[in-house]
């Protein structure tokens, strides 16, 4: 089997953008290709995702980019599977390259949302978008007016806190820590420090979730270039994809059976990716975890296997997930403070872990990081895609 490498990464500032998502995408694709040292005519696959959840639907985005960048290729795909869209894209690119079908693949996502403010000021004009947000859920969830997964996450976090005796300060502290991480990231959406008191004083959007514990929808774009081992040979900055795995539960948003504070697909995908890579969880130096709410972060850390159930909040409190800790989790600032253009988010996570493994993460750098993990999810964590990345053989850090 051929090795698969990430040769190029690129991302925009995260926040609000005025450029059309097409131009955002084109610019970030060009930057990732330059980073990889590849020209468009050498690209053999192209995959992308929709431009947003509350954006007016535009179809066949990828085909337009192929024309715009002059990419004649052997794989072209538009993927929409919610938060996992761009990581599923990476997974497919990885599979095709590993099987020798193509030698390179460009994966990109660009998101431009109709902001909630805009929607609130003209509800009638945007009602088709509100209806379409509501129709994400099945009839038995949609009937109660749901237009975001917030109430579902709120109930899962409430149960998690109830089952493990977690107090509100423990959850607020996660938001504060992620903000501290983001202050080291020049492209993060948030630039101001945060305190536990400020988090707990912010409005409760869906109890027990405070506004400052909930990620906002942002604009942004990112791109990744995946290549064969052969194409990566002379590229000293290429990072290896050691393994990828995904797992999905037979649920859509709130589960009708079982414990809603547990997410079995995450553990299955994590097990698959770690086993495939030959590493164990304790080998991981740095990880980007997809947690759209502060309360979800410890739950995801536990499901992935970094900590036993109920133990992550104490680990976070003790600094074990931050700089100088046993594993650096969400050095980018995570969804909460880097910002969260959901379709782009998995590529932002890959970008961060690749930069960490290259030793190019600047102030955010985990010294000697050599094994990294990316976790993404869709819906109400109904499905999860995991990747384990490492530095190519012979270039491992002083650490091992």
């Amino acid at each position: 089997m051929a090795g698969v490498y990430i040769a190029g990464v690129a991302m925009t500032d995260i926040g609000r953008h005025e450029l059309d998502a097409h131009e955002l995408g084109a610019r970030v694709c060009a930057e990732a290709l330059r980073d990889a040292g590849l020209i468009p005519s050498r690209v053999e696959g192209l995959i992308s995702t929709p431009h947003g959840y509350m954006a007016d639907t535009r179809k066949m985005i990828t085909q337009r980019m192929a024309d715009y960048l002059g990419i004649a290729c052997g794989l072209m795909l538009d993927i929409d599977s919610g938060g996992n869209s761009s990581s599923t894209a990476v997974h497919i690119a990885y599979d095709r390259i590993e099987r020798g079908r193509i030698k390179s693949c460009l994966v990109f996502a660009a998101q431009r949302e109709a902001t909630p403010k805009k929607i609130r000021s003209d509800i009638a004009g945007h009602f088709h978008l509100i209806k379409s947000a509501n129709s994400l859920y099945d009839s038995y969830q949609a009937a109660f007016g749901v237009i975001s997964p917030l109430p579902f996450y709120a109930m899962a976090i409430q149960r998690y806190m109830h089952l493990h005796g977690i107090v509100p300060e423990d959850i607020a502290r996660v938001a504060v820590l992620l903000r501290e991480h983001a202050l080291r990231h020049p492209r993060a959406a948030y630039k101001e420090p945060l305190t536990v008191e400020e988090v707990l004083a912010s409005n409760i959007v869906s109890p027990p979730i405070h506004r400052l514990e909930s990620s906002e929808m942002h604009d942004g774009a990112a791109a990744l270039v995946l290549v064969t081992e052969e194409l990566a040979r002379d590229n000293k900055r290429a990072v290896r994809v050691a393994a990828m795995a995904e797992a999905h539960d037979a649920t859509s948003f709130i589960p009708y059976r079982g414990e809603i504070a547990r997410f079995p697909c995450v553990g299955r995908a994590a097990h698959g990716a770690l086993e495939g890579s030959g590493y164990s969880i304790s080998d991981v130096d740095v990880a980007e975890v997809y947690g759209a709410f502060a309360g979800l972060e410890p739950m995801m850390y536990e499901e992935i296997g970094f900590f036993a159930p109920g133990e992550a909040p104490a680990a976070i409190r003790e600094g074990r997930t931050s700089h100088g800790g046993e594993v650096l989790l969400n050095p980018s600032g995570g969804r909460l403070s880097l910002g969260h253009p959901a379709y782009v988010t998995p590529l932002l996570e890959f970008t961060e872990v690749v930069r960490q493994l290259r030793g190019e993460a600047g102030e955010r750098q985990r010294p000697g990081a050599s094994v990294g993990l990316v976790h993404t999810e869709q819906g109400f964590i109904n499905g999860s895609v995991l990747a384990v990345l490492d530095r190519p053989d012979g270039r491992t850090s002083e650490k091992r």
Binding site: P116, A124, F127, I130, K131, N134, S135, D138, S139, Y140, Q141, A142, A143, F144, G145, V146, I147, S148, L150, P151, A154, M155, A156, Q158, R159, H162, V205, S206, P207, P208, I254, P255, Y256, R257, I260
Partner: protein, 128 residues
């Protein structure tokens, strides 16, 4: 603005029509003898389409509860929750009680409820 709920299949149409008449029912596979929630047009266990409508239990246990700020209906101060019907599953529903008076594990009982925009739905209230 059309705010009618989205109906994904005939079973959903029937479920909400039954609610309008005060009935709380779901489908049961005559072959597997398993009651589904939510109702189905076919049994996900055996794929048989020979299903019958049976009464669901009207008492359950409060698994979790919350409120929503932005929504088409059931905005704050309405409470939404998840109620476990023993042996069947979790029902996502409105809860007919102030948020502060609820706790996880509480026993709750079914009733029909009509939303402000005239949709027949259900809610559960704490057992007295």
């Amino acid at each position: 603005m059309d705010t009618r709920p989205y109906m994904q299949d005939r079973a959903a149409e029937d479920f909400f029509a039954l609610l309008e008449r005060g009935e709380f029912k779901s489908t049961r596979c005559r072959y597997c003898c398993v009651t589904h929630y939510p109702p189905r047009v076919l049994c996900p266990l055996c794929l048989d389409e020979d299903l019958e409508w049976v009464d669901l239990p009207r008492e359950g246990t409060l698994v979790a509860f919350t409120q929503q700020e932005a929504a088409i209906r059931c905005r704050k101060p309405d409470v939404l929750g998840l109620v476990e019907l023993e042996g069947i599953g979790n029902v996502f529903t409105r809860i007919d009680a102030p948020f502060e008076e609820l706790h996880i594990g509480q026993k709750v009982v079914f009733d029909t409820w009509t939303s402000h925009d005239g949709v027949a739905l259900h809610h559960f209230r704490p057992l007295a």
